[in-house]
């Protein structure tokens, strides 16, 4: 039976499902993703409408993504034209969250690069300092 992983994407985090679980096919995995989404948003539907469950296969490659607002049972009874603005807004927030996460990741990488550069600079300064000391000794001997 195929193996699937259900990754949770909140506004700030990406939470992996390390073990995963087996489901007969993509449709069954999608149904499971819906139930997980409904579990996680119950009683916080408005705040968590932009959260998503990404269904990944056994190689951790994305198969589909489910936006919580799309399966929000509290608005399921409303006509499609009333649900749509909420879903569109949630999708935009989700895209913004992704962008912010990408920015945070880039910043984190930049910080890491700067820290490495700082360490290299410290080593260079130490080497120069040692060379300076050697030069001082050499000059003293010549003098």
């Amino acid at each position: 039976m195929p193996h699937y992983h259900f990754v949770l994407k909140t506004r700030d985090d990406l939470i992996p499902d390390r073990d995963g679980s087996e489901w007969p096919n993509d449709a069954a995995a999608q149904e499971e993703a819906t139930l997980i989404a409904q579990d996680l948003m119950r009683n916080q539907e408005t705040k968590r409408g932009s959260w998503r469950i990404e269904v990944r296969d056994q190689d951790l490659l994305p198969r589909s993504e489910l936006l919580f607002a799309e399966v929000d049972q509290t608005i399921a009874h409303l006509p499609a034209e009333m649900r749509e603005p909420r879903i569109v807004a949630s999708r935009r927030i989700a895209a913004f969250s992704d962008a912010m996460m990408a920015v945070r990741k880039t910043l984190s990488e930049v910080m890491e690069t700067l820290n490495r550069a700082d360490a290299v600079m410290t080593e260079v300064m130490e080497t120069l300092s040692r060379a300076d000391a050697v030069m001082t000794v050499v000059l003293a001997k010549r003098g």
């Binding site: 259900f6 949770l8 985090d13 939470i15 992996p16 499902d17 390390r18 073990d19 679980s21 499971e32 139930l35 997980i36 579990d39 996680l40 948003m41 119950r42 009683n43 916080q44």
Partner: protein
């Protein structure tokens, strides 16, 4: 309705041994809060039993005629809902008793008693306990407080399930389990937690993973270790504040004992 005979301990392959003088008081906080006289009325009927996780103490088809005093385990009172989904309405550890503690005509109710965390228990036939309660006010208080404790938890759980999120309920359950079991390590599988909270197993995985990333817990297969109990409480719903040690039957019994000693 008359109780049926039920032998959960034997079906779990567990030995039972009578309780020696002075032993009962050490092992269950409720019993240890009783005076030696009250305890002596119960001791002849108390037997030690080891119950494994998953043991069904009673269900709607097989009512219990025993009262269980947990020593080191945890019993969940579970209510079956539709479509095979069940949810926990109360959990009982060493500060209370569980089983046939209601009057016989009030026991015909579709709950199930499940040992979630295996361990040592003391078992007493219900008719003897209820008879002793009629003759002794301390034992009567014990029975009343244990009934109150189940009702208080059921009320809280009803409200909690209706208004709080799955992650906050998970934190609440885990915090309360740690408090009641007096341990930061709980042996429980994700399937069991999923069944207690009526959520998907993967939902439990994701919540546990998030808490682990936040440094609040460490989760290994079938074992949860709480690393930051105060942080866990902060992450839980406010239900943690409404049901505290003050409401434990053992605390109430001790309070009453202290009050009587001052009079």
């Amino acid at each position: 309705m008359a109780h049926q005979t039920e032998i959960a301990g034997q079906s779990a392959g567990s030995p039972t041994t009578p309780i020696a003088e002075g032993q009962a008081g050490k092992v269950n906080r409720c019993l240890s809060a009783l005076s030696s006289h009250a305890l002596s009325l119960m001791r002849p009927f108390l037997a030690e039993i080891v119950l494994r996780e998953g043991t069904i103490l009673w269900d709607s088809n097989k009512l219990s005629s025993e009262v269980y005093f947990p020593v080191s385990g945890l019993v969940s009172i579970v209510l079956d809902a539709s479509d095979g989904v069940s949810v926990e309405v109360a959990s009982i550890c060493s500060q209370a008793a569980v089983g046939a503690i209601f009057e016989p005509d009030q026991s015909d109710f579709s709950t199930q008693g499940v040992v979630q965390v295996g361990g040592h228990f003391l078992r007493m036939p219900s008719p003897q306990l209820l008879l002793a309660a009629k003759d002794n006010s301390e034992i009567q208080n014990l029975v009343t407080y244990c009934r109150d404790w189940i009702f208080m938890q059921a009320q809280q759980t009803a409200a909690c399930n209706a208004v709080h999120t799955a992650d906050k309920r998970f934190c609440r359950w885990l915090f309360q389990a740690c408090e009641r079991m007096d341990s930061d390590t709980i042996h429980l599988t994700q399937e069991m937690i999923s069944s207690l909270l009526a959520i998907r197993r993967t939902t439990v995985t994701l919540i546990a993973q998030k808490l682990q990333m936040e440094g609040l817990i460490q989760y290994r297969r079938g074992k949860i270790t709480v690393l930051d109990r105060a942080g866990l409480r902060a992450a839980a719903c406010e239900c943690c504040k409404s049901l505290t040690r003050q409401q434990w039957p053992s605390t109430r019994l001790l309070g009453l004992k202290a009050l009587k000693s001052r009079v």
